[in-house]
């Protein structure tokens, strides 16, 4: 008897799990723009993951003045830059840095901002005030300036860039997540959960956060794109990834003197930045619609 029950239960559970994911996928597929975003960002991710196989890293950093500033050709798919480095190789190896910076800083700031925001929004009162005033103070400084000064004091480099960008973006996440949490806390089912004897931690993790997921996901995907852009900006200013490592923003900075005669030098990394961030934005929009079971019909 007990065997039969266990068997039944597991089948039911598997059915449910699969069903849920399948349904989210089904709803996401309906949105053409979201699928386009997903395809573009997947291509970027694949290029970044298999960068070493597609084009040798040496191609991206070795200077070879004899072939400098060549236009697109069969040998150099997207041409070469002012030091004779293959631009295609630099773009795909740059995708590694750019995407990694975008995702890592976003995950870090969603995590940190999420904890602070959830605590502030759920408990309110003095705790809320304490956390939010600190965040306000950080927010009062323009993010790029803050990141710049942090990098300037810690010294340039990938790790310090990540730290600086995370610190400067935590406050806006805290703010968004706090607002979302506050709108959910007032709802009856939270009170009902409390009336069932649920602990605060469980209420926050199980009842409030899943309901707040929509706006957080949208904010997070948008943030990945803005992180890519500000990483590019910092590298452009020489405070991010150091040469000769390929990074999209640094590529822009390197080529700005030649932009008048060789415009493809800035257009290609520019298009890469725009495509990556745009695809993440529209994917985020589609995800929000797909993840919210309330929009199910």
């Amino acid at each position: 008897m007990s065997e039969i029950i266990t068997k039944q239960d597991t089948t039911v559970k598997q059915y449910k799990k699969k069903n849920q994911l399948a349904e989210i996928w089904k709803r996401l597929k309906k949105s053409k723009t979201a699928m386009m975003g997903l395809i573009i960002i997947s291509i970027f991710i694949l290029l970044a993951v298999f960068a070493d196989i597609i084009a040798d890293y040496d191609l991206a950093i070795t200077q070879n003045p004899s072939i400098r500033l060549q236009g697109p050709s069969t040998q150099h798919f997207l041409g070469t830059d002012t030091y004779g480095r293959d631009i295609f190789a630099r773009i795909i190896h740059g995708a590694r840095y750019s995407l990694m910076i975008g995702f890592v800083t976003t995950i870090l700031s969603v995590g940190i901002g999420g904890i602070f925001g959830a605590i502030a929004g759920y408990y309110g009162g003095r705790i809320d005030n304490g956390i939010m005033r600190v965040m306000d103070t950080i927010m009062a400084i323009p993010p790029i300036l803050l990141a710049l000064s942090i990098v300037a004091s810690l010294g340039p480099g990938l790790r310090n860039l990540l730290i600086a960008m995370t610190i400067s973006s935590v406050p806006s996440f805290t703010r968004v997540i706090r607002a979302v949490i506050m709108s959910v806390v007032g709802q009856d089912f939270v009170e009902a959960a409390r009336a069932c004897g649920t602990t605060d931690r469980r209420i926050i993790l199980r009842h409030i956060l899943p309901n707040a997921m929509g706006p957080i996901i949208v904010q997070a995907t948008m943030s990945v794109s803005s992180m890519i852009i500000s990483a590019a900006a910092l590298s452009f200013l020489g405070m991010g990834i150091q040469p000769p490592a390929p990074e999209w923003g640094a590529m822009l900075a390197d080529s700005r003197e030649f932009m008048r005669y060789y415009p493809y030098l800035v257009i290609i990394p520019g298009v890469a930045i725009v495509l990556a961030s745009l695809s993440l934005n529209i994917l985020g929009d589609g995800l929000r619609d797909a993840l919210d079971p309330r929009l199910k019909n």
């Binding site: 266990t6 009170e191 069932c196 649920t198």
Partner: protein, 325 residues
């Protein structure tokens, strides 16, 4: 009836805001026996929900405050409990059904998961045991157990309320507080839900506090009735004493005058004139005196005391030990 389960003694609850102190509950006494149903009746703002939230220990943090009094369950005063101890009481010993089933279920969890959660918190059961119990609860409220994998929005309002009831009853609580459980439902579903609650209560021998402003529902389901006005219980008695008895508090008379009768022919209803007093600025003496048709000078100065006749209690100057029998 049998032994008492809940005993509220002289409970005072206030809400503090920056510029006002709202006296929501002013010294109420209530007793509920095992398996008994108490109807808590009164206008909006009479303090019914505040009383319920005080029992659950769920008064809004920061604003709501219990000034004095005792709430005794099984010989222990739960007002002295720590938050962790209260969590054990909630859901396991006392459950509450909120007014609006549409919003009291979490929209992103399946209904099965939500019932399972209560069990995970309070019962020492393994996964299969919990699922079995969840299935049982669904059967109990008349919903096929296969539907436990669906989300709240896939159910109708009446079914949602049944699920909320199933959730409240999952741990066999000894006391069920129903805060206007049928207000958000239409009349036919109201009847179904009430019948079901009545039946379950009998079967599980649960005590219940039914908060409502619908006297029809009270007549249908309750054993005892407490009429609340401005944070006080102005009349308390068995169902017969309130609905059939001779002597009543003028407020109770007013309440009954406000509903149309099927037997007597009246051109107009006689509602209670005026409005509920501002709970931040309650009148002196009897709190009902500004609206009372039988108001005498004494009512304006002195607060009336409870006059007791067996199980029937009236708080009014019109009655004393001699004329209240």
């Amino acid at each position: 009836m049998s032994d008492k389960l809940l005993d509220i003694k002289d409970l005072h609850v206030i809400y503090e805001t920056e510029d006002d102190t709202v006296r929501a509950v002013n010294g109420i006494n209530l007793k509920i026996g095992k398996g008994e149903t108490l109807g808590l009746v009164g206008e909006t703002g009479a303090g019914k929900t505040t009383t319920a939230l005080s029992i659950m220990g769920l008064l809004p943090i920061g604003a709501g405050k219990i000034l004095s009094g005792e709430i005794i369950i099984e010989n222990r005063d739960i007002l002295k409990f720590t938050e962790a101890e209260m969590r054990h009481i909630r859901g396991e010993k006392i459950s509450i059904i909120f007014q609006d089933p549409m919003t009291s279920l979490n929209p992103v969890l399946t209904v099965g998961e939500q019932i399972a959660e209560v069990l995970e918190l309070h019962k020492d059961l393994d996964k299969n045991g919990i699922q079995k119990r969840v299935d049982e609860m669904f059967e109990l409220v008349g919903i096929p157990a296969q539907r436990k994998h669906e989300y709240p929005h896939q159910f109708s309002g009446g079914m949602k309320q049944r699920i909320v009831i199933a959730m409240a009853l999952a741990c066999d609580p000894e006391l069920l507080i129903a805060d206007e459980p049928t207000t958000a439902l239409d009349v036919t579903i109201q009847a179904q839900v009430l019948d079901m609650m009545d039946e379950l209560k009998q079967r599980l021998n649960t005590s219940m506090i039914l908060i409502t402003h619908d006297l029809g529902i009270v007549a249908q389901t309750c054993d005892k009735v407490a009429i609340m006005y401005a944070g006080e219980i102005v009349e308390y008695g068995t169902l017969e004493e309130i609905f059939e008895g001779e002597n009543h508090h003028p407020y109770t008379v007013g309440l009954f005058g406000s509903i149309p009768s099927l037997t007597k022919e009246t051109k107009r209803l006689s509602p209670i004139l005026g409005l509920m007093p501002d709970p931040a600025d309650l009148p002196k003496g009897c709190k009902f005196h500004p609206r009372c048709p039988k108001c005498i000078e004494k009512c304006k100065i002195e607060e009336p005391k409870d006059v007791v006749n067996g199980t029937h209690i009236i708080k009014c100057h019109l009655y004393n030990i001699n004329n209240f029998k």
